[in-house]
């Protein structure tokens, strides 16, 4: 009978944690994009600046999910 691996990277908990991080990032991104779209609908002439700020905010939120992904590269 083979011994069960005790490495975190071999367990299911790691994949579950990655999924939860993705859910958090998705909720944050959805909220930010929806607010950006509301603001653009209110003031179409500021759409360019709002879009730039939205893209930058999305990169920050995305980074949090990527920190969870990085833990898989570091064994």
């Amino acid at each position: 009978m083979e011994p069960v691996s005790t490495l975190l990277s071999d367990s299911a908990a790691y994949h579950l944690g990655l999924g939860i991080a993705a859910v958090g990032a998705a909720m944050g991104l959805g909220w930010s994009v929806s607010k950006a779209m509301e603001a653009m609908a209110r003031q179409p002439e500021a759409a360019g600046r709002i879009q730039t700020a939205m893209i930058i905010g999305c990169a920050f939120i995305e980074a949090l999910a990527i920190y969870a992904l990085i833990s898989s590269f570091i064994r």
Binding site: T52, I55, I56, A59, F60, E62, A63, I66, Y67, L69, I70, F73, R75
Partner: protein, 288 residues
């Protein structure tokens, strides 16, 4: 030495961990890994493989020099296409930096921030060229860039605010007894914050670019497996990674912009902000 057949089959390079012997995620093939696999044991190829990312950084610098020296040659008021493209890139970044720092400081710190943006942009895009890999797909490269930003920001803070002003800023700028009582709380927090901010910069860029490489590698492998069911021993495959290339272009540009933007914000945080209060009050007084 491997045969030509072996090299043609090395369409997707397995990133293997030399220490544990386990193979890592598949990556798109790059020329240095292919040469190293073809001539395993040759001293020159082994050293080339050890310095793989440094060689790609040198290739990036060569590309940047070629593009921008040609764009700047015979610069005229009516620009040609290459000069117009270079001006577009630089003016876009300068506009964003100026929005954060104000015209005087933006002019002063833009050489560093603009170089950072162009460098990271070219490094991210180098991974999309068929036989190349992104140097930023390595935590050491992105960590070095983050250390550069860290040192530059701290140096700027020390120069602009003076050593005493810098420590005052680190303590949270206490002005009343409540502020002074909170110093033991603020000082470690601020020091930790100053150390973690470059770490987050490095991790964000590294995770995005390395994840992009893994995505491309896995899709390439899937495309090849699909064709191998019909024609065994082939090195062509269904181009499933084509949509992922667009994602890679978009994310590469965005990550370069975010890195530069965050460096700008960190610089703006260590600049003295007393004069801004005076300007704001002046503007309010004129408006009312």
């Amino acid at each position: 030495m491997h045969s030509l057949q072996d090299i043609l089959h090395l369409h997707v390079v397995q990133a293997s961990d030399a220490d544990s012997g386990k193979s890592g995620p598949p990556l798109p093939p790059d020329i240095i890994s292919m040469i190293h696999h073809w001539g395993e044991g040759i001293w020159l190829f082994e050293r080339m493989y050890d310095f793989k990312y440094q060689i790609y950084i040198l290739i990036t610098i060569g590309l940047i020099y070629l593009v921008f020296s040609r764009a700047g040659r015979n610069a005229s008021i009516r620009p040609g296409r290459l000069q117009a493209l270079a001006e577009l890139l630089i003016e876009a970044v300068y506009g964003i930096v100026e929005g954060i720092l104000g015209p005087k400081d933006a002019r002063r710190y833009f050489p560093f921030l603009g170089t950072l943006f162009i460098f990271i942009l070219f490094m991210n895009f180098l991974g999309l060229v068929p036989l190349m890999a992104s140097p930023t797909a390595n935590i050491l490269v992105t960590g070095s860039l983050a250390i550069c930003v860290f040192l530059y920001v701290q140096y700027t803070g020390l120069v602009r605010q003076g050593v005493k002003g810098y420590f005052f800023h680190l303590m949270g700028e206490p002005r009343d007894p409540v502020g002074w009582a909170l110093v033991p709380l603020f000082l470690p927090l601020h020091i930790l914050e100053e150390l973690i901010k470059p770490l987050s910069l490095a991790c964000r860029l590294y995770g995005n670019v390395y994840g992009k490489e893994i995505l491309l590698g896995v899709l390439l492998l899937l495309g090849i497996w699909m064709v191998q069911g019909f024609i065994p021993g082939t090195f062509i495959g269904v181009p499933l990674h084509f949509p992922a290339m667009f994602l890679a272009i978009l994310l590469g540009a965005i990550q370069a912009l975010v890195f530069t933007l965050l460096a700008t914000v960190y610089i703006s945080l260590v600049l003295p902000h007393d004069d801004h209060h005076g300007e704001e009050h002046g503007a309010d007084g004129a408006a009312h």
